[in-house]
Structures are given as C-alpha cells and as structure tokens.
Amino acid sequence: MSPVTIVYSMIGGVCFTLAAVHLPVWLRNREARASLAFAVAAICSGAIACGELLMLTAATPAEYVAAQKWNHVPIALLLVALAAFGYHYLRAGRLWLALLGIGVRLVALAINFGIGENLNFLEVTALGRVPYMGEEVAVAIGVRNPWLVLTQLDTFVLMLFFADASVTAWRHGRRTEALLVGGSLTVFMLASAGRSMLVFWAGVQMPSMVSLFSLGVMLVTGYALSMDLLRARQLADELSERELQATLAAEAANLGTWTRDIANGTVQVSKKWRELFGFAPGEPLTLPSLLQRIHVDDRAAFDHRLMQAARDGGDYHIELRLVLPDEKTRWIAASGRVAFDARGRALRTRGACIDITARKRQERETLRLRQDIAHVGRVSVMGQLASALAHEINQPLGAILRNAEAAAIFLQDPSPDLAEITAILEDIRKDDQRAGAVIDRMRTLLRRQEVAMTELDLSQVLGDVATLVGPDAAARHVAMQLVVAPGLPPVHGDRVQLQQVLLNLILNAMDALRSEGDRHRTVAVTARREGPETLEISVADTGCGIPAAQIDRVFDPFFTTKTTGIGMGLSISRSIVETHGGRLWAENNAVRGATFRFTLPVAAWA
C-alpha cells in the first residue's frame, strides 16, 4: 500500500475516532454544544481525508473533478462546525463575523455546483503528477475557476473571527483555551488561506492537503476538550467528596436533610430525617404523608411559610411539632431554601431539620421559673405598696368606725335625728364597698397566674395603676401626670403583668425623686402611638437621672442602687415586656431625670 493511502486513511481513522469519543458526551448532556460541534468537525475532517485520498489517487480528470466537487461539502460543513465550536468553547467572538464567513462559503458552495466543473476549475484538461510522500500523486491541470477567490475571502473572515475571539477569551482570563484552541483555529485558517493563494495566484502545483491541517486542529482542540472532561471528572469526584463530608456533618449535628422536587413532587430525605419524622427506611414519601406527621396546629403555618418561600424566594425557618406514629410529640426546627431556575420558577426545596425537643422543654421550664420570679417580684413590689394600701383601706374602715360611733351616740338622744342616722348608714355601706374594692385590686395583683393574653385598653391599665400608686405619690409629695393619647388601639397582653411593669417603673421613678426638692417631684406617664403597629409607654421622672456608666446595667438581675431593693424589678419588667413582643429601655432626659420607655405591639399585629 502506498504511503499516501496509509497516511490519509489514518487521518480519516483518527478523526472518526475523535468524533466517536466526543459525540456521546453531547448525547448525554445536550448542553455540551462544543462537544457536538467538535464531533461534527471531526467527522467532516475524516470525510475530507477520504475525499482528498480519492483526488490524489484519481486516474482520470473526471474522477478528480467529481471527488474535488463533493469534497467541498464536508469542507463547508467543517468550517460551520469549527466556527460553532470556537464560539461555544471560547465563549467569545463576534457572531456576525462568523455568520459572514459562513455565508460567503455557502455562496461558494452553490457556485461549486453551478459554474464550471467545480469551485476550483472551469475546465480540467489533464491530470498532472507531482511527487508527494515518496510517490507521485494526481493534480489537475486546466482553467481555474475565478470564483475560488471567495473561499479565500471566507477563510480570511473566519480567521479574523477566531483571532478576535481568542483575544477576548485571553482578556477574560481563559488563557489556555485562547492559546490552544483559538490559536490553532487561527493558524489553521491562515494555512488554508495561504495554500489556496499559492495554488490560485502563483499557479504552484500542490496536492490537496486540507485534511492534514484540519487533523492538527482536531488534535489540539481534542486535547483541550479532553482536559475539560478530565476536569469535570475531578469536579465530580470533589463534589461527591463534599457530599460525603456534608452528610457526615449533618449526621454529626443530628441534622435531617430533605429535598423536594417541585415539578414531579418527589421527596428525597436522609436517613436521619427519616428517624426524626418517624418514617421507616424504604417507606415511600410524598409531601402529603410528610405533612401528616406535622402537628395539626402547626400544619397551616408550615404550609404557609413554604408557599411564601416559594413565592417570594429565599429562606424559611420555622419551629414546629411533629406527632410521631407512637403518638409522641417532637419539636423540630426546620430551615430551608427554595431553588429557582433561570426563569424564576421554583425548582426544588432543600431543607434541614433538627430535634429541639430538649431545648423547648428547657424554654418551658425557664418560662415557668420566670413566672415564679415574677410572682416573687410582684410580692416584693406589693411590700413596697403595703403602706400605701393600708392607708387606702384604713380610710374607709376609719370612716365606718367613726360613723357607727356617731350613730350610737345620736341614738341615745330621746328623739334621735333619723334622717342623720339614715345618712350615716348609707355612708357606712358605701365605705364598706370602697374597702372591698381596694382588697379586690390587691388580690388581683397578688394572685399567681399563668400569662393570660387578652386585648387590653391601655388607658384603662394605666388608669388602674395610677389609682393604685395615687396615695403613695401623695404621701411622697410627687405630682403624677398621666397623658394618654386619644384613640389608641388595644394592645395584646397580660393585664396583671403589664400593671406590674408599670408599678415597678413608677415606684422606681418615685424613689429617684427622694432627694429632690418639692418643686421638682414629678412623674409623668405617657402613652402614645409610636408606629402603625407599636405603642410606646414612657415613665419620666425629674430626679437625679442614671449615671452614664450604669444605664446599661440597670436591667441586669440583682443590680440595685437601693438599700432595700433586691434588684429584680427592672430585670423582670424587661422580660415581661419582651414576652409581649416589645422592648424596654432607659435614657436620661436632656434637662433632668430619666425616662424608661417600652413598646407594645398593637393587638391586630401581635
């Protein structure tokens, strides 16, 4: 067999093999368009090698012309495929340049079948022989087709396209790709154009060798593409390594993970997740069966949060109760994220859950403890109030006593004034009710009870407390001002607890006035709307204020400046306000004294 036959057959074989390697890549992943373009280019290169072999070994001019004519089809296709490959692989280049080059080539292809014998010759008169690879191969002799210049034009345009795309890719930092792929494509175009011009303009007799150049391009770009495949493989390895680590971490943290594909409704979960939700390994999972495990009272909230996350995007975090098959309740914290596709459609939800039953139990315990402490605090506050209340109770009792004594004396009169005695009895009745009311108020304050959240009229709560501290304020020569903005919406809260907070703040304010002269003894309680969903209550005194160094510490438990205090009042008050969804803080006034403010959410927003 002649060397030419061997070499060109091998070129064809190599090209087809390369195509066979990269075509399946595209078949598996339709997004890998560069692989498709490369495979097409390789097939074309192989076809060109075969066509050229036919030309080189042609025995008659007719054979030569036919082979050359049909060889222009894979050549044109090769150029299209290479342009597509370069465009996708380099992710750069001016599309209009590529389209211009391809357009010109298609015109040339039409001429190939329309004018003259083919694109190269108007007429072939004879076959010449030139030495090539140690033997003699056929070249055509005849009248050249002037339209062949079109192929030089489009090759030049495509060369510009590749050169430009390479420079852009280089600038974007993809230097290896730019150098290897862009460079080889550009050189290939340059070589083809150069050879064509030598033959066309200088009349040099040269055997056809397009496939030789394209083989070079195929090898270089095939190498680059294989490197990419190799890197993809490495990434896949790393990914599975990461996944392994993530699974380990999730298991170590007792995290159950789950993924829900929104399109087909399937749910995939980790082993730990099954444990948490009480599903046996292998038990089939659907969203409804998953929702079934969630406590009835939490189901709607969970569904709502999930829908919200799917609609608005982003993360969700929710704490909910599960009811396990054995009827036990388990608290979990579930967090997750909804993933969207490029068009903003929700694709899947990924989430992680953790068992927080123990924490919840602790929280409940803490709440109970806090209620106990609040009770103690209330009792100690009551201690401070005791003298004021004794005064308030002794007042009606004293009146009853004196009235009864007076009546007894009046009755000793031979003709007693019955109208006077009737008036006395009526007064006795009223004073008895007055004393009863004081006792009722005190009992409400002292009763230890669970938090009872209701809608409260703030002006009423403030009024009650003002009445309660009224006598104490009078005794301490403190002027109490109560300003409630008109038309305040109701708040959501526990009456007794809020009264306790107010009592605490007002008694503290009065304590702060202890060393002030009479002129400056004022405590102002103000309630106003702070925002659409918040009310603000402030208790301001005209005392000595809080030293700057202590203003952050006053809310610490057991922090006190009083000789008789236990330092729990403000700490308890703050925790009560926070339980109500508000905030309690202190600030010094510009002129004199300090102001304690707290916020409460409006009932409709709570």
């Binding site: 003298s387 004794a390 005064h391 308030e392 109770i393 002794n394 007042q395 009606p396 009792l397 004293g398 009146a399 009853i400 006593l401 004196r402 009235n403 004594e405 007076a406 009546a407 004396i409 009046f410 006077e420 006395i424 007064d427 009223k430 004073d431 007055r434 006598p471 304020a473 009078a474 005794a475 020569h477």
Partner: protein
C-alpha cells in the same frame, strides 16, 4: 372667750364627714377642711381650739401644717391621724410638739381623750401667753432710769454700790426701787427676780444672787 373649735383636716371626704359627726355627737364644736391650705386660709388666729389632721395628704401634708403652725403667733395643738403609722413620721410629728399620733381606727375613747387634752392644752397655753403679755405690759411702765436701777439690782448690787455706780444719792436709789416694786406688783427682791426672768430679763452671767 369664744367656744373652742376642733378643726378636722382630711382629704378623704367620707372620713371627714364621719369624723365630724362623731365629734359633734360628742359635744364638740367642729369645722372641716379638705386640705391644710384651706384651713390656714380660713382660721381665726386667736380663736381657741385644736387641729385633727391626716398625716398623708397630697401637696400639703400634716407635717407641713405642723411646720406652718409653729411659726404662727397663736399655734394650735395638733393631733395626727394616719391610716398606717410609720416610725419616721411618728417621731417627726412628736418632736414637732404634736399632742398625739393616732391611727384612724383608734378607739373612740382614746380619740376623744386626745381631743380633750389638746383643747385643755390650748387653753393652758393661751392663759400662759396672756399672762406673759400682761407681765410685758407691766415692764413697759418702768422709766429708763428705773430700768438702769433694776438692772443693777438684778445683778445683786447693794443700794450704796448702785448710788456710786450711777453717781446719785443712796436715798434716790431707794425711791426708784420702791417705785419699781409698786409698778411691777411685787413685794420682795426674790419675786422681782422671778418676774424679770419670766419677762426675759435674766441676770447677766457670772453674777451671784445675794
């Protein structure tokens, strides 16, 4: 002299009414006030009586009233009432000369006794004050020369020494002394000394009584 009045001051209306009923039924003449300032504005300075006042009242408390009354020319005895007695205010009230300090629900007898005592004390103090006024008036009648002689007599100087001190005859001194005794209505030097002390003319320090 007009009938003594018990002034009751308390900001609690019903208690004020009940208190006045009991005191009237017990035979006292009673006037009531809902605040200490009302009382100070309405009182007649020289009318006899006593004050029964609530310790705790807004703005002007019983203790404030005690302070204000102490500065008056004719103070009235104060009887404090309180719903709940605390040591600090009790001490302050008693130190300020309060007649008594009672809880609002103290036994009737204790209350009425205390009112009686306060009225008696007022009468006593009033009599004492009028006596002192009279003594002062008597001293007003003494001439300047007699006052000089009186001063020396109270220092324990003898007639002869006084005559020497003033550069007058011993007999003239004796005339002055007689006139002084007559005007002040005393018979002996001892009585004279006592009266002078009552009127605020004590012997100068260091001198000895003869």
């Amino acid at each position: 002299m007009s009938e003594p009045t018990v002034h009751v001051v308390d900001d609690d209306g019903p208690f004020l009414l009940a208190m006045s009923r009991l005191l009237r039924a017990s035979g006292f003449s009673v006037k009531t006030y809902v605040s200490a300032t009302d009382f100070l504005a309405e009182r007649e300075e020289d009318a006899p009586g006593c004050v029964v006042v609530d310790l705790r009242m807004p703005e002007f408390s019983g203790l404030d009233l005690q302070t204000a009354l102490a500065r008056a020319r004719h103070p009235l005895p104060l009887l404090f009432l309180t719903g709940h007695a605390d040591t600090a205010s009790t001490v302050q009230a008693m130190r300020g000369g309060a007649e008594d300090f009672l809880e609002k629900r103290a036994p009737k007898e204790q209350l009425l006794d205390a009112v009686q005592r306060a009225l008696a004390r007022d009468a006593r103090e009033r009599a004492e004050r009028s006596r002192q006024d009279e003594v002062h008036q008597r001293f007003e009648t003494i001439s300047p020369r007699e006052r000089e002689v009186l001063g020396l007599v109270l220092q324990g100087r003898l007639n002869k020494q006084i005559a020497g001190d003033l550069g007058i005859h011993e007999r003239t001194v004796k005339v002055h002394r007689k006139s002084i005794m007559t005007k002040l209505g005393v018979r002996s030097v001892a009585a004279l000394t006592r009266l002078a002390q009552e009127a605020g003319m004590p012997p100068p320090p260091g001198s000895t009584f003869p």
